[in-house]
Every structure is written in structure tokens, then in C-alpha cells.
Amino acid sequence: MPELPNPVDYAVPAFILLILVEMVWARRNAPEKYEPKDTLSSLSFGLGNSVVGLFAGGAIFASMLWVYQFRLATIPWTWWAWIACFVLDDLAYYWFHRTAHRVRWFWASHVNHHSSQHYNLSTALRQTWTGWLALSFIFRLPLMLVGFHPLMVAFCGGLNLIYQFWFHTEAIKRFPRWFEAVMNTPSHHRVHHATNPRYLDSNYAGVFIIWDRMFGSFVAEVDDEPIRYGIVKQLGTFNLLYSVFHEWIGIAKDVWNAPWKHKLSYMIREPGWSHDGSRDTSDTIKARWREREGLPVE
């Protein structure tokens, strides 16, 4: 078993450098693509995420090791195992991410990544502080059960995260067809961060966009429609702590106020769900859009 560093640690200087490069691009082309307060907030999210990781990481890794005891096979540290691990970890990421958008409990943590109204490289570092609370790591456990060593999985997860950095940009329009067909790209992930009704709940991929194509969640970017970024009800504040916890606060309030038989639903139904139907969900917004556009009902 090799000694493995955390690859993200080594990537951070490159992240900062690329953000600076993109800022120079923005100054020339579109200064409104960056907002200093928003950038400060997003980068603070990133830093806080790694601080939380120092504390929660140990416990999460211990749980992964514990589950590893019950593995069906023992997969060796060979080159093909690395490839298989990386691909399967990306598949696990897809299902984590898709669930994170459809189940409010996981959304309360993942919303941190989406709550900026900007889409630039600093947005990529906007990472949650409460993934440990949401127990997001459970989506990786099947890999341990199959027999991948937790260290290998953790390392692949780090590489996955690094790959996801660079495509948070509007500076790159599109890549050659074959690349856009297989890989997640700026174009595909812009769609994922968009609040335009046509784009809601799509392109959950981490590295390989093929998962979205396979499981029916792929939506291609349309060239003539400007993208609006963020969440359906924009935060409207740069207050960091409120930005970190707002959806958890929302869950707590709703569960407290709801009748008993609806309490659980406020935690596990889709974001925006309410027992009296008084709020918008991505589905109601999409339905309204289809109606206005004269599209057939889905």
C-alpha cells in the first residue's frame, strides 16, 4: 500500500494562478463576470471546506475503512485498478450529485456550490462546509464494498475534484465534438449552474459527461440564450455564515412548523417542495416554462 498525499493540496497554487489569469481575461472582456465580494465569499467557502476536512476527514476515512472490512473482493494496487476506481468513483459522484439536487437534505450542503450568481474559476472553489453533516460520503461506500481500498478511492476523489476546477469558466466556449461527447466541459457545466428553466436539473457529471447521456439528464447548451447563474431564489447577501447554513436553517424552520406527517418530507423531498404546494420547485418552474413556450407537457 503506497503512501498517498492529498492531490488537492498540490493543485491549490495552480488554482490561484489560473484564477488570476481569468481575472485578467475578465478585465478585458467582461468585468461583470467577477465580483470582488463574491470572489472573496467563494474562496472563503473553499478554505473553510478544507479546514472542516481536517476535522471531519479522519472520521469519514475511518468509516470508509470500517466498511472496507466487508468487501466482496480485494482489488490489488495495479494500474487497471486505478483506472477502474477513477471511472467508478466518477459514477458514484454522478449519483451523489444527482441526489444532491433532488433531495433537500443533501441539497442543503451542495447548495453552497451553486449560490454564487457568477460562474468563474473562483466559483469552482466554492465548496460546502457541511458535507459531513449531510453524510455525502455514503455515496462512495459501494466502492469499498466492491473492494477498492479507501486510500485509492480518496485519491481518485481528489483527482476528480481537481478535474472539476478548470471548467468553471465562461472564457472557453466549446471543444471539438469528440471531447464534448465524452468529457465534462465548460459548456456542459455552465448548463448545470444555470437557473434558466430549460437547464434546471441537468448535467450532474463530474469528469465524464457520458453518465448524463446514459441516465437521461443531459441538456446541451443553447447558444442564443444568455445563461443566468445561481439558484432559483438568489441568496441576495454576501454574509458568509448565512450563505453556508441558509438551507439547513430553512429545513429546521420547515420541520418545526410542519404538521407531523409532513416533517420528514421537508427533509427528503426535492428542494422547494411544500406540503401545500405554495412554493416553486424545479419541476413547477419547468412546467411553467413549457407552457409559456408552447412545448408539450412532459
Binding site: 493540496d9 491549490v12 490561484i16 484564477i19 488570476l20 481575472m23 485578467v24 475578465a26 478585465r27 468585468p31 461583470e32 463576470k33 467577477y34 465580483e35 470582488p36 465580494k37 463574491d38 470572489t39 472573496l40 474562496l43 472563503s44 473553499g46 478554505l47 478544507s50 479546514v51 481536517l54 450568481q117 457568477h118 473562483s122 428553466p197 443566468r228 445561481g230 432559483v232 438568489q234 441568496l235 441576495g236 447577501t237 454576501f238 454574509n239 448565512y242 450563505s243 416553486d280 418552474i285 411553467r288 416554462w289 409559456r292
Partner: protein
């Protein structure tokens, strides 16, 4: 070990503040303004999908607007950094009228009060908001 982590933390913190400071120095963010009533309507529809404004009161400096739709819903549209945020007005929100200036507090944590310079329209919209309260 803990010292290495603390050093990394300190360096990251300095880098973050440096990057944000530089973004400000480079003039990033720009100065967004609402051009006219039609622009406000477009922005309002983007902020809350399907909101069809029929009436608009524009802030003199173009940093915010109040809008009303045919169903009587009212929206506060305001600038937030280099972006726009819309909120439907509800009776619980606090308002204050001072000559042509209408101040609205949505009561959300972290959100500041918004003061719109609406000129003569301020009185009418303030009255409209009071009616919203009674409805």
C-alpha cells in the same frame, strides 16, 4: 503536523484576501444599472421566472425597481454586487417613506435595507404596499 496545517491555512487566507483585493483594484464587478422600465421587466422575469410586470417604478440611479404584475403581486428588484436579486413583497416587510425615498427591509438575515429614489412615484407605491398589507 498541526504547524504545517496552520501555516497552510495562514498562507491560503492571505492568498484569498489578496485575490479579492486585486479583483477590486482591477475594477472587476463593474457598475450595473437598470436602463429603463423595459430592462427592469426583463430582469424581473429573470429573477422570478414568469413574473410579467405591468407597472414599474424605477430608482433614479437605476440600482433598483419596484414592479407589479396583473395579479397584484409586487416585486422588489435590487442590485446585489454585479448581479440582480428579486423578491416578492409581502405584508411582513417593513417600509418607510421619506419624501421621494422609499426604504424597504425584506427582513431576511444578512440582507441590507434598500432605499429607492422613486421621486413622485414613491408615495403611490408606498400606498400600494400598505394595500398589500391589508389584502
Amino acid at each position: 503536523m498541526i504547524w504545517i496545517d496552520l501555516a497552510k491555512l495562514g498562507a491560503s487566507l492571505i492568498a484569498i484576501i489578496g485575490v479579492a483585493w486585486l479583483a477590486g483594484r482591477m475594477g472587476l464587478g463593474g457598475d450595473l444599472r437598470i436602463r429603463d422600465a423595459d430592462h427592469a421587466k426583463v430582469l424581473a422575469n429573470e429573477a422570478i421566472y414568469g413574473f410579467e410586470a405591468t407597472e414599474v417604478a424605477l430608482d433614479r440611479a437605476g440600482v433598483g425597481a419596484l414592479l407589479k404584475d396583473a395579479q397584484g403581486n409586487q416585486m422588489l428588484l435590487r442590485r446585489h454586487g454585479a448581479a440582480w436579486v428579486g423578491r416578492l413583497l409581502d405584508p411582513a416587510m417593513e417600509t418607510r417613506l421619506d419624501q421621494g425615498f422609499l426604504t424597504i427591509s425584506t427582513g431576511e438575515p444578512g440582507a441590507e435595507k434598500v432605499t429607492l429614489n422613486l421621486g413622485e412615484a414613491a408615495q403611490i407605491w408606498a400606498a400600494g404596499m400598505r394595500r398589500l398589507v391589508r389584502a
